[in-house]
Amino acid sequence: MRIIDITRRSARNLKQAKARTLLTALAIGVGAFALTLTLAASNGAQSFVNRVISDNFDPTEIIVAKDESILGRGDTNKPKEYDESFGSAVVNSGASVQIKQLTDKDIQKIRQYPEVSQVREGVTLTLEYITRPGAKKYVANAIDFSPAQNPEVVAGAIVKPLSDKTVLLPEAYVSSLGFKNPQDAVGKSITLAVRKSIDIASILQNGIPSNTNDIQELAKSSSALEQFKIAAVLKKPTTSQPGTELYLFISNKDAKALNDIAKIGTNQYRKYTYAYARVKNGENKANIATVQARLKKDGYTSQSVEETQKFLTQIIDVLKAIVAAFGFIAVIASVFGVVNTMYISVLQRTREIGLMKALGTRRKDISRLFRFEAAWIGFLGGAIGSLAAFLLGTVLNPWITKRLDLGTQKLLIFDLKQISILIVLLVLVAIFAGLLPARKAAKLDPIEALRTE
């Protein structure tokens, strides 16, 4: 028999048992549904990660640190050797850990690398407060603005590199600081207060005061107030690094200056947890690798943007695997449904098989007839499941995006090619499930089969 005739015949057979076919297909559909949504969610997550990366990182830059634990590589179970650059960093729950930091000497050393065009210290600054006349004081953090970052602007404009004494203000601060609207804020000044460290110079000059009140006064230290002009108001970011949503952006130079005011006289002065090294011709991965190798040799730890991306994707991959596993279990369960249905189909059509064999149908054609029938069920299940997932996803996408505050980012991204491959795979699984029943049909004795009334 010709393939087209077998295909038509098997489709017709399925039509004659609509309820049974549909129910069996639905079992496969559940798996297809789960797998389609998983694929769509991981596409969305991947695209989100890619956007986080492209909005925050310059692919030609490498993050450099001295302490391995900064990039999540250190062994926290092993005692760490003392290093003169030790400073403390605040980690979760407010606990401080001692970490090796980059000093000016380190920065200079890396600047000397022939493949490196520029080194930028990473400065994250805890401001004492920000305010403006007539407004309350608010706590805030400031971070140096990297030209690689592309935050969404509500009002004003970003000049790259950021001009000195200008600030990019998150939208959330606009009404708190008493501005009517974002447009109103642009061009206005705000005050950034930095708590000065204990003034060692004054102590050296005047000696330690004997009076308790004076000691307390000295310990309290004073604040440095700096005026910054608002260059732009930023929309609540969807693709910033988590935890940095309310950060103020200032220029690298300003960030370093404020940092110096805050840290001078302490053991944290001019020490940086990490820095960004820009690689000459960094579009070429080989150049990045060269610099990373050199950094490693000199005792630094580094992470390229590609590695950052991989790290973020890792988490997504684990989640993906878990949901995919459930989908696969559903598919495996549905295989038994297909086997069962196909056996029933063979039993019901014993006489027809007998007649076809008596009329000279080849064994392999009989077998094919049932395998095709199983394939149709697989196709139907895959199509129903992925279509349902697609419809649900299309309906839910705007709602999810709103609930998770994703802005223009869609959580579920459906890829027609992926869905097609999924359906093809399900068809193959269904054919596999139909193998035994098809064999049984092919082996039926026509004389016995025709005796069945």
Binding site: M1, L359, G360, T361, P446, L450
Partner: protein, 228 residues
């Protein structure tokens, strides 16, 4: 010429040995009408199965148009059956959920013949069912179903048609019409018609009448010379 040479068929082993056919030999000219009669258990169904190649004899040969049937292997046997013979059954065995067209086109699909539509229409016309071409088989009466089965049997112009109790499920008036139709088609198509039956009246209408009892031929009657 169809030659049946020393066919023996037994079932079971040793103690429970059952002889279905015991050294059966005869020959029939092409284009003739043959009735194989006998009570149930006489071996007439087994003989039909062996003559059509569905079953294998323990001994003996079937020679159809010079070809030894059971020497054909697998694919050759299937395609021989698909092109050279067909069947009509007591309980019709038409697919109730399929249309008349689909039922009749089955043998053409199996033998991968071209010009299906013309052939199906021709066959349905011959059994006067052309008006039902797109009707489902389940909508037909018993006699119409058997006519549909006949259309299916003649559509690929086989040289040999086996009919197993073709009137067994029909009332006598309808049965007679079916028999008339079979004989008429036998004359126009020049195919050999072998009817397995226990109906003496029907058997009497055939040119050759073979009576079986306990696996042996007890009577072989040839009504008149068959003209080619």
């Amino acid at each position: 010429m169809i030659e049946v040479k020393h066919i023996s068929k037994t079932y079971g082993k040793k103690d429970s040995l059952l002889t279905a056919l015991d050294n059966v030999s005869f020959s029939i000219p092409e284009g003739s009408t043959v009735a194989i009669i006998g009570k149930s258990g006489s071996g007439k169904s087994t003989l039909m199965h062996i003559m059509s190649g569905l079953d294998h004899p323990n001994d003996g040969q079937i020679v159809i148009a010079g070809k030894v049937l059971h020497d054909l292997k697998g694919k050759a046997m299937d395609s021989f059956r698909a092109t050279e013979m067909s069947f009509i059954f007591q309980s019709f065995f038409v697919e109730a959920n399929q249309t008349c067209f689909q039922n009749v086109s089955l043998p053409l699909e199996i033998s991968e013949l071209k010009q299906r539509k013309t052939k199906v229409i021709e066959a349905l016309e011959a059994v006067e069912l052309l008006d039902k071409i797109n009707a489902k088989a389940s909508e037909l009466s018993g006699g119409q179903k058997q006519r549909l089965a006949i259309a299916r049997a003649i559509v690929n112009k086989p040289q040999l048609i086996f009919a197993d109790e073709p009137t067994g499920n029909l009332d006598s008036v309808t049965g007679d019409k079916i028999i008339d139709l079979l004989f008429k088609l036998n004359k126009t198509n020049k195919n050999t018609l072998i009817i397995v039956t226990h109906d003496d009246e029907l058997a009497a209408k055939c040119q050759i009448r073979i009576t079986l009892k306990d696996g042996k031929i007890i009577d072989f009657k040839q009504r008149k010379k068959v003209s080619k």
